[in-house]
């Protein structure tokens, strides 16, 4: 059985404070937040070769 992801998985977002000055954390988080909305909505599985009743 093979599993094929046909839509992008959730995008991991780096901690806002990493590689940034403390004062820039809030702005970085605000800019990054739309990126985490791209979630896995569709996942396809090929069941060729499986035995059973369907």
């Amino acid at each position: 059985m093979t599993v094929t992801e046909t839509a992008p998985a959730t995008q991991p977002v780096l901690p806002a404070g990493e590689h940034t000055a403390p004062g820039a954390e809030r702005d970085q988080a605000a800019e990054a937040s739309p990126l985490i909305e791209d979630e896995l909505l569709v996942e396809e599985i090929s069941i060729d070769g499986m035995c059973g009743v369907y």
Binding site: T4, E5, T6, E37, L41, V42, I45, S46, I47, Y54
Partner: protein, 104 residues
């Protein structure tokens, strides 16, 4: 493993689509399972919003009109369009050639 980061070529949200007649949808807590009796592909639809959209595509003149009728937020539409594009590629949904709205 394919990448559906962009909309599949040929998928046009301005066109009318419908659930493929060879596909059975089974409601699940996460959304639905779609089984295609022709190509024997099993597809997980992992969003109730996407399931509702897929089931109601045939009631509207276009994908965009379906989203508008369901009140899909503007920022959610690109992700749903990418999902529908991959569903069209898998023949879970198909374009309606006549453009007619489903009766009933």
């Amino acid at each position: 493993m394919g990448c559906a980061a962009s909309t599949e070529p040929g998928f046009d949200p301005a066109r009318p689509y419908e659930l493929h007649p060879d596909v059975a949808l089974r409601p699940e807590p996460f959304g639905a399972l779609a089984y295609h009796y022709g190509n024997r592909r099993l597809t997980f639809l992992r969003s109730p919003e996407l399931v509702q959209l897929v089931t109601e595509l045939g009631d509207h003149e276009s994908v965009a009109a379906s989203m508008a009728a369901l009140g899909v937020a503007t920022e959610r539409r690109p992700a749903l369009e990418r999902a529908l594009a991959s569903l069209a590629k898998s023949e879970v949904v198909r374009p309606r050639s006549d453009g007619a709205v489903r009766a009933g």
